[in-house]
Symmetry: C2
Subunit: 398 residues, 2 copies
């Protein structure tokens, strides 16, 4: 009896598989990353900022000094010197033993989800929130609730009302993806006080914090309430995303379980990559390197703001002025829908991400996310002009 | 009101966290990896086999040719040329589109667990089985059942009886970790036929397949029943584990969900590492490199077999003769317990892993796993002599 003559294999998917979906952004990128399209859609750091020469030197040194060890299995916690460097970088007292190195900070979201979310657990997020976090939590089958808020931050009454029984509040206080929103000093104090008063754990994600344009953002939430926060950081935006290096700082109560989840997930983050980044960071490299990224991204943001100012005259479009990071958030006039606008924009050679993908609950269909770091200043000028033309064409009054 | 004056943060762990435990092996390694201890406990490939120079050249070339792209975010599926190289390496027709690059094959176990295991799902494993797989599946809260078997392979009657309703059978046919067991041609045919007849999906894990000593093992299960198998492979044992590069070959019905789980887990496996391995593998590198690993490990296995033959005379210890891989499996005489033996062995300067950790169900407490690849031939001689002395001391008749 040949296998081919038999009934087929009975593949049965887990229930959670039904909740896992292709990333909307990913699907959009497939359409929009064609030659000739100016893309404000992606979330890619500018590859011009990657310190290729420093990495080449570090590769040579790490392999020459300790090649076999750098290529061997390593500890699940991470490479000791890198854990020390991360702890020392942070603006509040952190022990290296609290730092778990992860395969990008995306993995930290996956690990936190595994350790803290049961099927049906309530999890709170910002409105809007980072899509990758929604995807990381989804396999654990939470009920995700968006906390109401405005351009200044989450609404404390709504947060207080939702806190009881929620597993955590996921918050990205600096130059948020997607909205570019930054929480001010007063908002941070209020948020930490509300979290402490309600016992609500905070999951603070800070991939963009170093990319400030005029002044550093206020101190992290974790610096204010270390025992009540899990804090996520990343090297993706200050060095290079392709090495997949992030970390989570965890209170002692959480660290051992996150470590066990980490070990089960991929044994450890590539040790070679950890040594490379540790080597590159020596002697204050980031202090010399990151200002260049800030200056570049600030110029690009300014180019986009100037282009919007110039091209969107009279169209009823609103947008914010991010104080750092990579993204600007815009809103179309009443009656318009960003998802419907997208194909017309692509037809005119420009792409963006409709904001609806970033909402846990009811979406604001008029919103869109514009990345200002991938396209050049010249492309930004042409792209925003094309976007304005598409909006003009699409406008209900047109 | 200061946060410190308030009741503490209400950290609530997911139910699954209770099922996540520190690896027994990891805990043992902490005790045993002290200076002066000869360790047969770890599962580390010999670092002497890592092609450090080839990696140094590849680093320089990849960064010089395409540095910014190598350090940028990349596709969740994996680097196209590497997917093609993996597909071309496999001994049955595989499309590159079926190959998902993972952060070590451990991650593939995590992804399969997420996509195929609900809480309470029945999952079948060998007796004994790879501990890392048990750990990867545990967060999805399966009921894991060990399929009965002997030194030749799993018992087909037991497998057939357990197949209905089980999500898959996890099987490591070549030089298994921990037992060193290899399934022969007849066992593979019987296994594939049983799987096909019952519709039971197979999860085939093959990290050691290239490390054969005298002749290549029979063709993989996936080559016999491609539509009924998920196949896991790894570069950890033929190039270097510290880069964390593995893959899963999935039938079209499973691939999209595994890809979504992969994207949510860590976005993608480090692109730099993928390009390095792709570069190193060019021009038939593995065909020249792997024979040296095989020869080294064969010499080490022979040294361990000779030492066991010499030192265990009359002690009632039994062991097998692995035809490849890294591990040998031994069994103490009746009345002895490997976990109780361990501290006495460590006191005499030698360490191993008690076999009980590798059983899903009732464990055989007399078994132990001995790695023959990390210690040198001279250390093997001294270590086995010390182990024999510990057994002699520990034996009930002593």
């Amino acid at each position: 009896m040949k296998p081919n003559d038999l009934p087929g294999t009975r593949w049965t998917l887990a229930q959670r598989a039904a909740r896992m979906n292709p990333s909307v952004i990913r699907e959009i990128l497939k359409v929009t990353e064609q030659p000739g399209i100016i893309s404000f859609a992606g979330g890619l750091p500018s590859a011009r900022t990657f310190p290729v020469d420093a990495f080449a030197e570090a590769c040579a040194r790490v392999l020459a000094d300790d090649g076999p060890a750098a290529l061997q299995y390593a500890a699940s916690e991470g490479w000791g010197p890198l854990r020390e460097q991360v702890a020392a970088m942070l603006p509040w007292p952190v022990q290296p033993s609290q730092v778990l190195i992860t395969t990008g900070s995306q993995q930290a979201l996956d690990l936190v989800g595994k350790v803290m979310i049961d099927a049906g657990s309530r999890v709170l997020v910002e409105t809007p929130t980072y899509l990758g976090a929604l995807q990381a939590f989804a396999p654990m089958e939470p009920v995700v609730e968006g906390v109401a808020g405005d351009a200044s931050g989450p609404d404390m009454d709504d947060l207080r009302a939702r806190a009881p029984g929620a597993r955590f509040f996921y918050v990205l206080p600096n130059f948020q993806n997607p909205s570019g929103r930054t929480l001010g000093e007063a908002q941070r104090e209020a948020l930490v006080e509300t979290a402490a008063a309600t016992g609500l754990p905070l999951l603070e994600d800070n991939p963009y914090g170093e990319l400030w344009f005029d002044q550093p953002p206020p101190a992290p939430l974790a610096a204010r309430l270390p025992g009540g926060c899990l804090y996520l950081g990343s090297f993706s935006k200050v060095l290079a995303p392709g090495l997949r290096l992030g970390w989570v700082v965890a209170p002692p109560a959480l660290f051992p379980k996150l470590l066990q989840a980490k070990q089960a997930a991929d044994l450890h983050t590539p040790g070679f990559n950890q040594r490379l980044v540790s080597e590159v960071m020596k002697n204050g490299f980031l202090d010399r390197h990151v200002p260049g990224i800030r200056a570049l991204y600030r110029r690009q943001r300014d180019a986009m703001l100037a282009a919007l100012e110039r091209e969107m005259q009279g169209l009823g479009v609103h947008w914010n002025r991010p104080e750092g990071g990579m993204f600007l958030w815009a809103r179309l006039p009443a009656g318009m829908d960003a998802a419907q606008l997208l194909p017309r924009a692509v037809a005119r050679g420009v792409a963006f991400v409709p904001g609806a993908a970033f909402y846990a609950g009811e979406a604001d269909a008029r919103t869109l996310r514009l990345s200002f770091v991938t396209a050049s200043a010249d492309e930004i000028d042409r792209g925003i002009a094309a976007l304005a033309a598409a909006i003009r064409e699409h406008a209900p009054s047109a």
